[in-house]
């Protein structure tokens, strides 16, 4: 590939790939990159050494001509742990309604996932009109729930909704920032982030216990330890990793030095030319 057309060809192909990728994952940032400072996670039931006091959020949103306005409700942390967004007109209230109530509340889980474990808090999201009617949303409305993992970076996480006594996994994509993940939802209820594998030292304690414990045991889910999960444990580094990487860095540096030295030797051995 050469010539003056090359930059245009590369830019064109790049643009096509970017647009395709963006359409596939509309929640993606301009680029998955950058520095990601993260706030400590705030737990409903904090493990030892972690911060407690998780809070929810509520909002009353007036209807305009019977249609819902833009809805954006987030929990109050500097880096919100739970968020819900809905486009204008995305929710369908009853005809007599004049306002919509949106509430996000951290709650204890009513059950455990059969695969993986819950990371962070479970958030109960309720959306009702002022007639008390619970609202749902069509897929086309693009109502989305955003949840943050307790200890980013996490590359593989799924948002799930608790329905019919089980955690239903939703199509999830990374927002690329601060370990937040997003799912488009059509119904509300309890939402949580599910991480693969079992929590090595702990897991979220369900709200009730006897019934859900029996249910969990019957369905083959893991036993229920006492405290919330620690993804730090899940992501614990093998002891050899840091020394190994250090050796690789040293090796790369040494390799570069050798390459440079040999190249300089070749330059020195090159034939001199007399300048006219």
């Amino acid at each position: 590939m050469a010539g003056r057309a090359a930059p245009r060809i590369v830019l064109g192909i790049g643009l096509v790939v970017i647009v395709g990728a963006r359409l596939a994952t509309p929640a993606a940032p301009p680029l998955y990159d950058g520095v990601v400072p993260t706030e400590p996670y705030v737990w409903l039931d904090p493990p030892p050494g972690e911060r407690g006091g998780a809070q929810g959020a509520t909002a009353e949103i007036a209807l305009r001509n019977g249609r819902s306005a833009l809805i954006a409700v987030t929990t109050p942390e500097p880096e919100p742990q739970a968020q819900i967004f809905a486009q204008p007109g995305g929710l369908v209230p009853s005809s007599s309604a004049t306002a919509i109530s949106v509430a996000i509340k951290p709650v204890r889980p009513e059950g455990l996932p059969t695969e993986g474990h819950i990371d962070g808090n479970v958030y109960r999201i309720t959306v009702t009109d002022d007639a008390g009617k619970p609202l749902t949303a069509p897929v086309s409305a693009g109502v989305s729930v955003v949840l943050r993992v307790s200890r980013p970076p996490v590359a593989d996480a799924t948002i799930a909704r608790f329905a019919d006594g089980a955690w239903q996994r939703l199509k999830t994509s990374s927002t690329g920032f601060g370990g937040t993940f997003i799912s488009v939802v059509t119904a509300f209820g309890d939402f949580a982030v599910i991480l693969p594998g079992s929590a090595p030292s702990a897991s979220v304690a369900p709200a009730e216990s006897a019934a859900s414990t029996a249910s969990a045991m019957a369905s083959g889910s893991p036993s229920i330890p006492a405290s919330p999960p620690s993804t730090r444990d899940a992501a614990a580094l093998p002891g050899w990793l840091l020394p190994g990487l250090g050796l690789i860095v040293a090796g790369a540096g040494a390799g570069a030095w050798v390459v440079r030295r040999r190249r300089n030797a070749r330059y020195r051995g090159a034939r001199p030319m007399r300048r006219r």
């Binding site: 790939v17 990728a21 998955y32 955003v146």
Partner: protein, 194 residues
């Protein structure tokens, strides 16, 4: 009397050293992040300096840039930001990172520039000489996408590969790294508001 020698070509040893060094630095950043060895700003600062050090070890030296490079870079970054705004507008999740803007922005610009200096600068130069410009474009874009997998997962590959091609196109269009570095920094900084 002046000694003149044609620069050696055909050896992949230097590109391999760059890629191995980059993999090691990315691995160390991932390990430091996941173990919370330091705050993200400090880790980002060390990461950016590490990339610059690797580029220096690889013998990269800045070339003269066209005056139009920065303008082209701003336009290239603007395209990425507009595309992101167009697709994110309806979802509008709050993604602004916490903390003061200035140190975050400084380190973000450093990291974006260092990535461009290493990939579209040092590695691109070496690969262009050894395997040709077409494969250099593909290889540097692939490396760029792969280096973000540890922090963001495999789902980033299509977008970051496409953006890598975009940056490589800017590099080809201007002949230097100023344009891709400007576009890259703009795309990263935009996450504060988007």
């Amino acid at each position: 009397m002046t000694t003149v020698a044609a620069r050696p070509s055909g050896s992949l040893s230097r590109p391999v050293v760059i890629v191995v060094g980059l993999a090691a630095i990315v691995g160390l950043r991932w390990a430091a992040t996941i173990s919370a060895a330091a705050d993200a700003i400090a880790i980002g600062l060390i990461f950016g300096l590490g990339l610059l050090g690797l580029a220096a070890i690889a013998g990269w030296r800045p070339a003269s840039e066209r005056r139009s490079s920065l303008v082209i870079g701003v336009a290239g970054g603007g395209v990425l930001v507009v595309l992101a705004m167009a697709t994110r507008a309806s979802l509008a999740p709050s993604l602004a990172p916490p903390g003061p803007f200035v140190p975050w922005a400084g380190v973000t610009v450093l990291v974006a520039s260092a990535e461009e200096i290493l990939l579209r600068g040092a590695l691109f130069d070496e690969l262009e000489r050894t395997i040709g410009v077409g494969l250099a474009v593909v290889a540097t874009s692939l490396v760029f996408a792969l280096m973000h997998v540890p922090l963001y997962g495999w789902g980033v590959l299509p977008l970051d590969f496409g953006v890598g091609l975009w940056f490589a196109g800017l590099r080809l269009a201007t002949g230097g790294i100023a344009a891709p570095a400007m576009a890259h920094a703009m795309a990263d900084l935009a996450t504060w508001w988007l």
